[in-house]
């Protein structure tokens, strides 16, 4: 594939302590693969598999590319589109999560980025703009009868809320098919490990803090599972001293009120962790209560 040829040129794999560390950029995020091994060939092969999977998912589900599956779906709004098996699985997943969260998790909310641009400025949309956009948001407007999808004109599907986590889980699985070495796959803070390190200890993961005074909220020893973070550390609007995080409530079409600045969740898979983190932030001021009630292993920063 053309994708893997260009990736081989940009993939750097270097020795880092006891590991091999591969670094590349995909999905607009710094990505890394750590392999706890002394075998350079295995480390390279695992890293290449991870990068290939990341680029594949990016190419397939990026809303910025008209030739991606998502691009074609969105361009075909108003018509019936038959989707492939993988997209169908993701749409099933989105459907279940929409119902489970009573509308908080909604893959059709991506259109709101047309009026909410989170660039650190103070440009908020006005009431008219929000009202207009409302018509195009809502999974209940979508007709999904596997494998056929029908979007109303002007609506869009956006897997941005789970694509990165899904990519982490799939990329790790691809690398595990190649090597038995302990691996850590980290796409911009959403990460998953294959298991404990060679010496039996956990992978040391620093949980970033959003506060100026503290550069780390804590150091975690992870020997199984995944971590995902949802929050406004990097994308927000600031107006009149009020901070508007970039997680939008699809029901109000506005940023969630009184949401924690950051929620980090540890779970069995990255998809699971990411979804719980997103749902927690969508709870707004009761985020911590939600996480506690669900028994989630999570850290909230307000």
């Amino acid at each position: 594939m053309a994708v893997s040829l260009s990736s081989a040129a940009t993939l750097s794999v270097d020795r880092c302590g006891c590991d091999y560390l591969a670094v590349f950029r995909a999905m607009a995020t710094p990505c890394e693969v750590r392999s706890d091994t002394d075998d350079a060939t295995q480390a390279h092969a695992a890293a290449e598999a991870v990068e290939a999977e990341a680029r594949r998912i990016e190419a397939k589900f990026s809303r910025y590319r008209s030739d991606s599956v998502i691009g074609m779906i969105n361009a075909g709004a108003g018509h019936e589109i038959e989707v492939d098996a993988e997209t169908a699985h993701l749409l099933d997943f989105a459907d279940h999560c929409y119902r489970l969260s009573r509308g908080l998790f909604d893959v059709t909310s991506g259109v709101l980025r047309r009026i909410w641009r989170f660039d650190g400025s103070d440009r908020l949309p006005n009431e008219d703009q929000i009202r207009q956009m409302r018509a195009f948001v809502g999974w209940h407007h979508v007709v999904w009868k596997r494998p056929v999808l029908r979007l109303a004109p002007g609506m869009e599907i956006d897997f941005g809320g789970i694509a990165k986590e899904y990519a982490v889980d799939r990329a790790l699985a691809a690398a595990r098919g190649i090597t038995d070495a302990p691996l850590l796959v980290n796409f911009g803070g959403d990460l998953c490990v294959s298991g404990p390190r060679r010496n039996g200890s956990g992978w040391k993961v620093a949980i970033e803090s959003v506060d100026k005074e503290r550069s780390a909220a804590g150091l975690l020893h992870l020997s199984s599972g995944a971590i995902a973070t949802s929050g406004d550390a990097r994308r927000y609007l600031l107006k009149d001293g009020k901070r508007y995080g970039h997680i939008l409530d699809p029901r109000s079409c506005r940023p969630v009120e009184q949401a924690p600045r950051s929620v980090t969740v540890a779970a069995g898979t990255c998809v699971e962790a990411g979804l719980i983190a997103t749902l927690a932030i969508l709870q707004g001021k009761t985020a911590e209560k939600f996480l506690k009630r669900e028994g989630a292993r999570a850290w909230c920063i307000r």
């Binding site: 650190g120 040391k204 100026k212 550069s215 150091l219 550390a233």
Partner: protein, 80 residues
């Protein structure tokens, strides 16, 4: 764009930078959080191997005149 507008824009940009830059720990002295992997090891912990250090200190306390220093409050026994 007027002078005031550009000033405000610069200030907003600076605030955004501070918000982002804080994550890069540009104002702390010493290693950044992702550089503290070695510090998490047991052998680099100040409080590790406490029973062993206590045994050492017990011997030194009962045979020597100086006590404590490393934060371990010596004493508690009559080996005076």
């Amino acid at each position: 764009m007027s002078f005031l507008q550009s000033l405000r824009r610069g200030a907003r940009f600076a605030v955004a930078c501070l918000g982002l830059g804080a994550l890069g720990a540009c104002t702390t002295i010493g290693p950044s959080p992702w550089e503290k992997d070695l510090m998490a090891r047991k052998e680099m912990q100040v409080s590790a191997y406490a029973p062993l250090k206590a045994a050492d200190n017990h011997v030194y306390f009962s045979k020597e005149a100086s006590s404590g220093g490393s934060g371990f409050a010596g004493g508690g026994c009559g080996c005076n």
